[in-house]
Subunit: 195 residues, 2 copies
Amino acid sequence: MRDPDKPQAIIDAAIRVFARNGYYNSRVSDIAREAGIASGTIYLYFKTKDDILVRLFREKMAEWVALVRKEVAAEGDPLAKIRKIVALHFRKIEESPDLAEVVQVELRQGHKFFRGASAHEVSAYFDVIQSVLEEGVAAGRFRRDLPLKVATKMLFGAMDQLATSWVLGKRAYRLTDAAAPVASIFLKGVTTDDV
Amino acid sequence: MRDPDKPQAIIDAAIRVFARNGYYNSRVSDIAREAGIASGTIYLYFKTKDDILVRLFREKMAEWVALVRKEVAAEGDPLAKIRKIVALHFRKIEESPDLAEVVQVELRQGHKFFRGASAHEVSAYFDVIQSVLEEGVAAGRFRRDLPLKVATKMLFGAMDQLATSWVLGKRAYRLTDAAAPVASIFLKGVTTDDV
DNA sequence: GTAGAATGAACCGCGGTTCAGTCATCGGCA
DNA sequence: TGCCGATGACTGAACCGCGGTTCATTCTAC
């Protein structure tokens, strides 16, 4: 019987290896060595090298969206929900450096991931953000004429860029310190009255 | 004597080929065929395949920053300058579909874009944005306590995400239509009084 | 003893790069 | 003007290292 923990172990090893060397500079044998198995074994659990990256991303992203959904549901106020999303996003990046490196830098590559297979997982995260904005508009807290899709992409883009800069930089500062300013500027931008 | 137009022709061909197939799925011979020359000729003008991508990006980005600097200088009001940057950014993306594809999708891969060789060119663009924000703060138009670096990254991230979504999507809408809302939300977020 | 999981050396296709040969250009000379 | 040799840009077939993938064999658990 196939070991049910193997795929997880391989994915975890792959995250460390990709974070260190980048996807295209990582050999399948590197991942195998990191996982303490033979390279052929990987092909018992993954179809191709690409498949490792795709499943890695899908798994982590699904976990992430589930967590954000739960945490956001626990907040009542739309403004508090936005602050929560930003805080969670930055905390996650900060406490998972290897995963952050892979997601922010390696995974951006072309047609394979953002388009195609993983588009669904990304848009699920967008949906969470957009729902909060809709809720805020309905509650009269956000501008009635707020362009939802544009505002959603703006917030995601802002968080994503802060995250990318932090990952690419020396990580000399605390990313979580940026959470309050980011939320505050964004909220001031979308609310009807001042925050 | 080496043909001084060749490097340009090769870069232009590379943009079309990379846009169509992605960087890693493009052969050097594909670029050569697109440019109407032999593959070996490329190595008279470029050191490696990577070199093509790096020089492509540097050239286009330098042109871009020069244009933005000039256009921004022509505006007086800091708010107008921000609106100008957003409008230019989206217009450029929209009217250069192949280049946009390469910059938004292909160039993000690995360590090539924000890190490495092109870091300087990217940060020059950041500097333009940040200067406008500084000017606005000094003029009392933007919040005195505005965190400049955070706000700069937020605006860039917002524009960049809109651009990426547009490129990845079917391009079914006009990206330039998003310029006004993006500028307006951002400006409302950073100004002292309402816009 | 058997099933099937694991191994890892070898295979093989790919494609970046090279370089020996070809061709176009041009200055010098009769 | 017309020929000739030299220069160096250009060509593209072939080379070769790389690394993803395979599979004959070994190991392990029951």
